[in-house]
Symmetry: C2
Subunit: 192 residues, 2 copies
Amino acid sequence: MVIFVASKNPHKIQEIKLVTPDHVILRPIESDWTVEENGETFLENSVLKAIEYGKCVGGPVLADDSGLSVDALDGFPGVMSARYLEGASYREKMESILELMKNVKNRSAKFVCCATYYDPNKPFLISVQGEVRGYISEEIRGEKGFGYDPIFIPEGYNKTFGELGEDIKKHISHRAVAFKKLFEILSSLGLI
Amino acid sequence: MVIFVASKNPHKIQEIKLVTPDHVILRPIESDWTVEENGETFLENSVLKAIEYGKCVGGPVLADDSGLSVDALDGFPGVMSARYLEGASYREKMESILELMKNVKNRSAKFVCCATYYDPNKPFLISVQGEVRGYISEEIRGEKGFGYDPIFIPEGYNKTFGELGEDIKKHISHRAVAFKKLFEILSSLGLI
């Protein structure tokens, strides 16, 4: 079966593909479709994207909203992760986060992903969250992954996601956890 | 366990109670909480209510959006069912529908209910739909039920929901179908 993915981000789509059952074919957005992500939580934005894109394609869709949440910054940048310092590169965004964390001892943080499946024909919608806990590194490290990966060290490791790359991320990342959970439920309900 | 219900309508809550597992206690809204139901579909309004009310109470909530959809009227009143002729009584609303259906041979219609569960703490959200197909009667009949029940004859019966009442509705109504489906999934996921 084919499921459309409400994302234009090739990194996201690749990470979802790595945990998608073999018989499910993911198809990214091909249009100029966009939606205002004005929700207060990852779940709200993920649901919003799934509903709007589901109406657009008229069939089952997946959506993802995700971000970095730093404990010492009260969860910042959180749902603002992608829009923080709008227009700036991720290197600039990471430098800014490291600056905010200068001399901060509590470096604990988490990556959060909310994964949503919506079929407008049944209709049916389900939204689950996945997390990975870890720490903000002292400097930017690694070229793999994307987004804030080079400043995030997952618990149990001493390298950043930017150094570890998809071989590790496909097992423990927030996105892997969320979509595995989602696909398990969809499979148990006979929907995929 | 206690689940709050994002509704002030005692009829709705009673109908949900009739299909709720014994160990789940439903608690209606006690505050002045209200939400603008500006979605295009039952699912959107149901999800909107669940998310807003879930944030308000900080724990698991149920929400319901439902309505009558008349085939010959292209699905009208649909998501507008409660707001159709705002301020008018349901007797006036039903009289208006019967007037629109005067001399219309195709009287097929359906009642639709979208049931949503949202737990802001996990977070987790699931939304399912239930329907009952039937016909619009020639006149208003029966005092039981609520809303448009007295002009809706479910398939396989020759009486309206207004005449049949909750003994039948708890088995076949759109709300019973939707919430039974929802509780079955929540139970299979170990959430209730």
